[in-house]
């Protein structure tokens, strides 16, 4: 690949059942491109957690995935309420998800920690009442999980 491939998705904030559609599609595309199974698994799980966060907290948003030969970059952007305390949000077990979301098995406070765990770099830019942008990078053949 001479230039990065770019995939863009709009994440529907009203439909919890279809949440994850973009991640599943990215997984399919990465398979077609011949990436190894563990890289694909890390990218698609990290992206799914981000998608779920946007649906739960921000009524959706957008997902852009840039695929280069040595790095996959995922940029998730929403216009939600922002994250007041990022350190707190990063703590395992901390969640502000409502009960109806928890009843579905989400809201365990593991989403952001999983996103960090499965990626090599993660940056959160957030402005209260304006929105949040999460940028994640997964390097090819340089994973921290073998």
């Amino acid at each position: 690949m001479a230039e990065a491939l770019r995939f863009h998705y709009d994440v529907d904030g009203d439909n919890f059942t279809s949440a994850g559609a973009a991640s599943v599609e990215v997984k399919r595309k990465l398979r077609q491109l011949g990436f190894d199974a563990e890289t694909i698994r890390r990218v698609s799980i990290a992206m799914y957690e981000g998608e779920i966060n946007m649906v739960v907290h921000a009524r959706g948003g957008s997902a852009d995935v840039y695929v280069d030969k040595d790095c996959i970059t995922i940029i998730l952007a929403d216009s939600g309420p922002g994250i007041p305390d990022i350190d707190l949000a990063m703590q395992e077990g901390y969640s502000t998800a409502p009960d109806n979301i928890r009843a579905l098995g989400f809201g365990a406070g593991m989403g952001l920690p999983n996103m960090k765990r499965y990626t090599d770099e993660m940056k959160i830019e957030t402005v209260l009442k304006k929105g949040t942008t999460v940028t994640m990078k997964v390097y090819i053949n340089a994973g921290k999980l073998s």
């Binding site: 059942t17 991640s23 997984k27 698994r41 799980i45 799914y48 957690e49 098995g105 365990a108």
Partner: protein
Amino acid sequence: MTVLGLKETLNLTAFALPQEERQVRGGYAGDLLSWVMGKAEADDAWLTIMSNANIVAVALLTDVSCIILCEGVMPDAGVISLAAEKQINLLGSEDSVFALAAQISHLL
């Protein structure tokens, strides 16, 4: 052991079995989806009582070899067809999560 072998040995119900020859190399039990995504490994059998449509996406993204709904839990409407469409093995058991995990542990 294959998913089909697991189904026949443990007398599991097959709700959807599009990839019956997939290997089962381990297991994970849990209902909180992010825990499953953080801890389950590829080719695990995933034991859960969570039966909504999101389990199909989680199984697909984590590369588990099958979902087994325990305690006689039935999948929600539409989940069976979604599993079949996405090539996810979806099984069921009357046993508790604990009892089924113990049996699978002996088989692997």
